[in-house]
């Protein structure tokens, strides 16, 4: 993907869960090389948006379209989206007892590599491949022998998400509140890790409540979501303004604009 080329085009997206409409018309364009932040109060639909893009089966897309590298995203199953280069870093990574983290990572890596027409790695080769990624995120190799996310601290789970991102090398990563549950040191490690994974050909969409992650990962665009819509888009300074003033003024401004 060339810098500046369109990676993700979301047009008029609405979606519901159990018959309740959560997303009420979202428009968003993400180009290669960009960092976007989506901010907003709890319940505004940020996480739903991320899950809909990743293909969570609980959400029903009711209208609108999403193009991922020019292709209709909704023609793809969740696994096809992952293989095509879309990555969701989960807000609450799922625990999978009985599957070691190492075998999970290798299976994910080889599945995606195979689908991209690249060589798979045997266990020894994969171990080598993994070493650099572990260092990048300051992860103790002992953590590979544990079951996926089982008994991990909040910070370990989030680091494990970024480790998966490092391994799968997505073109578009959606990081859903990757900063929540991290202390300041862990936040720095995770943010630095993500920074190192950036390239002109890929893009990041950060779903977050707080400015603090954005100190490390500077967004070109900050979007405010409220009640299932993006109600304001600005530059990185908008995040600082939200941090000091809260969200209410943005909602008020939006309502006034709509009324006019």
């Amino acid at each position: 993907m060339m810098p500046g080329e369109s990676l993700l085009e979301v047009r008029g997206l609405t979606a519901s869960v159990a018959g309740v409409e959560i997303l009420k018309g979202i428009d968003l364009n993400v180009r290669a090389g960009e960092v976007h932040a989506i901010m907003g109060p709890n319940g505004s639909g940020k996480s739903t948006f991320a899950k809909v893009l990743a293909g969570h089966p609980a959400y029903e897309v009711t209208s609108g379209e999403v193009l991922f590298e020019g292709k209709n995203l909704f023609d793809l199953t969740p696994e096809e989206r992952a293989r095509a280069g879309l990555f969701l870093g989960f807000q609450y990574p799922v625990e999978i007892p009985g599957v070691t983290n190492l075998s999970f990572l290798r299976l994910a890596y080889n599945t995606v590599q195979g689908a991209r027409g690249k060589d798979e790695l045997d266990p020894l080769e994969f171990d080598d491949y993994l070493q650099d990624k572990l260092k990048l995120l300051h992860i103790d190799p002992a953590f590979l022998e544990r079951s996926v996310n089982e008994g991990f601290s909040g910070g370990e789970k989030k680091r494990n998400e970024i480790l998966q991102m490092a391994i799968l090398e997505p073109t578009l990563a959606l990081l859903d509140e990757t900063d929540s549950g991290l202390d300041i040191d862990a936040l720095r490690i995770v943010a630095n890790g993500v920074n190192r994974l950036r390239s002109p050909g890929n893009a990041l969409v950060l779903v977050t409540h707080y400015q603090r992650l954005l100190n490390y990962l500077t967004p070109e665009f900050v979007h405010v979501m409220d009640q299932g819509r993006i109600i304001k888009t600005g530059g990185k300074e908008l995040a600082l303004e939200l941090e000091s003033r809260g969200y209410d003024w943005v909602s008020a401004e939006y309502r006034a604009l709509r009324a006019a």
Partner: protein, 435 residues
């Protein structure tokens, strides 16, 4: 149907009279007594509490004959089932000892040999335990097995010996339509340790009936690890009883895995014979299609300071039906018993079915007993998580099913067996639950 049931045991016993008499009069008496009991008992129906969920009508409608003598099996046919870690291996084809397929590895401190030989070489020791630990008084299948008793596997350890290499007892059903009667006796002397793998297999896909009895005597401060693999054909009928008696400070651990059989039933009865014993009882049934797998365990805490840990898992796909009944009895005076039982069940299809019944009966006041049962399906969030990392849905379901089974399979702790079982489970899941 009633006439069918009452004559059923007669059919099974047809030909039993032709067993040549033993030189051991006590053995002849034992068989005669078992024959008498078999004639007095009737086969169970779903009207019996212990068989409520397991309808044996398909077995009763299947014409069976005694196993023919000496079926030839090529050694290469056993290749896929061999256990690389094992020392001695005893192979029985349709219940008959197959010396050419067996490996009798001379090893200090243990005798591994056919029961027929043990009867002469270790007569008193065998006599002291045979048919004592798995009594046939109330169990018609056990009575029929004992009435047919001619040979089997014997494992006898000496005092304070640690038998490092596992002993593999392989029971192969080779004749379609035959009824076969595997038998095993494991007696461990004070302070000894051993691992025994009992393996039940079929070399054909037709119906047949395996009616097995195993007896395990754990000596004072002795330790027995007992692995039981039932991987017969999906058309086989398999009913087996295992009686275990554990002496003071003895340890018995059991991992039983059932993947085969059209209808299978395993009765495991473990008796605490003195203070300070430890039982670890783990089980896994993984079935599909129209299979039924029933496990009944009875842990009898009859003395103080007994500890038991039990985890039983069932995974049912297709229209399969899994049954677990886990009875734990804490008798009066069995103070400071510490017992925990878990039954965990996974249903992979809407038509699959599980009946699980923990049954605690406690007659002592200073005890710790916990039990729990869960029945669930694969977690949709876990499936989505795996799919979001590129795995397709069948692979994700397969991986999660294996992970559920792995907790039990890994307790087998023999790498070659664990690997092969995991491979078998993976292939099975890959075929959509078909064998």
């Amino acid at each position: 149907m009633d006439a069918l049931k009452s004559s059923y045991l007669d059919n099974l016993l047809y030909g039993q009279g032709q067993i040549p008499a033993s030189r051991l009069s006590w053995l002849n008496e034992l068989r005669a007594e078992a024959l008498e009991r078999a004639n007095a008992l009737t086969v169970p129906t779903t009207g019996d509490e212990d068989w409520r969920f397991t309808d044996l009508s398909p077995l009763y409608k299947t014409a069976l004959r005694p196993s023919p003598d000496a079926v030839e099996i090529a050694a290469s046919a056993l290749e896929p089932w061999l256990i690389s870690e094992a020392g001695s291996r005893l192979v029985f084809v349709d219940g008959a000892f197959a010396p050419n397929l067996s490996v009798l590895q001379p090893e200090d401190g243990v005798a591994v040999l056919p029961l027929a030989s043990a009867l002469t070489q270790h007569g008193e020791r065998v006599r002291a335990h045979l048919a004592q630990v798995a009594p046939f008084g109330a169990d018609p299948f056990c009575a029929v097995n004992t009435a047919w008793l001619r040979d089997g596997a014997a494992v006898l350890t000496d005092r304070n010996r640690d038998i490092a290499r596992p002993i593999h007892l392989l029971f192969l059903s080779a004749s379609p339509g035959a009824a076969v009667y595997p038998r095993a006796l494991i007696v461990t002397a004070r302070g000894s340790r051993c691992t025994v793998v009992e393996d039940f297999l079929s070399s054909h896909e037709a119906a047949g009936f395996t009616n097995g009895v195993t007896e395990v005597v754990v000596g004072e401060n002795a330790s027995v690890r007992h692995v039981r693999l039932q991987r017969e054909s999906a058309n086989a009928f398999h009913i087996a009883a295992c009686g275990v008696r554990v002496a003071r400070d003895g340890r018995y651990s059991s991992v039983s895995v059932s993947v085969g059989g059209r209808i299978s039933r395993y009765n495991l009865n473990v008796l605490q014979g003195a203070e300070g014993t430890s039982f670890e009882i783990d089980g896994l049934a993984l079935i599909s299609g129209r299979q039924l797998a029933d496990t009944h365990t009875f842990l009898d805490h009859a003395h103080p300071q007994g500890r038991s840990r039990q985890l039983h898992k069932c995974i049912a796909d297709g229209a399969a039906h899994a049954v677990f009944n886990g009875k734990i009895l804490v008798r009066p005076g069995a103070q400071r018993t510490d017992s925990a039982q878990q039954s965990r069940n996974l249903l992979l299809s809407d038509r699959a079915h599980v009946d699980t019944k923990p049954q605690l009966e406690i007659f002592a006041d200073d005890v710790k007993c916990a039990h729990g049962a869960t029945v669930g399906q694969l977690d949709t969030e876990q499936i989505f998580y795996l799919r979001s990392r590129g795995m397709d849905e069948p692979s994700a379901r397969n991986l999660l099913t294996l992970a559920f089974a792995a907790e039990i399979v890994e307790r087998i702790a023999l790498p070659s067996v664990v690997r092969r079982l995991e491979h078998h489970l993976a292939r099975r899941a890959h075929n959509g639950g078909k064998q």
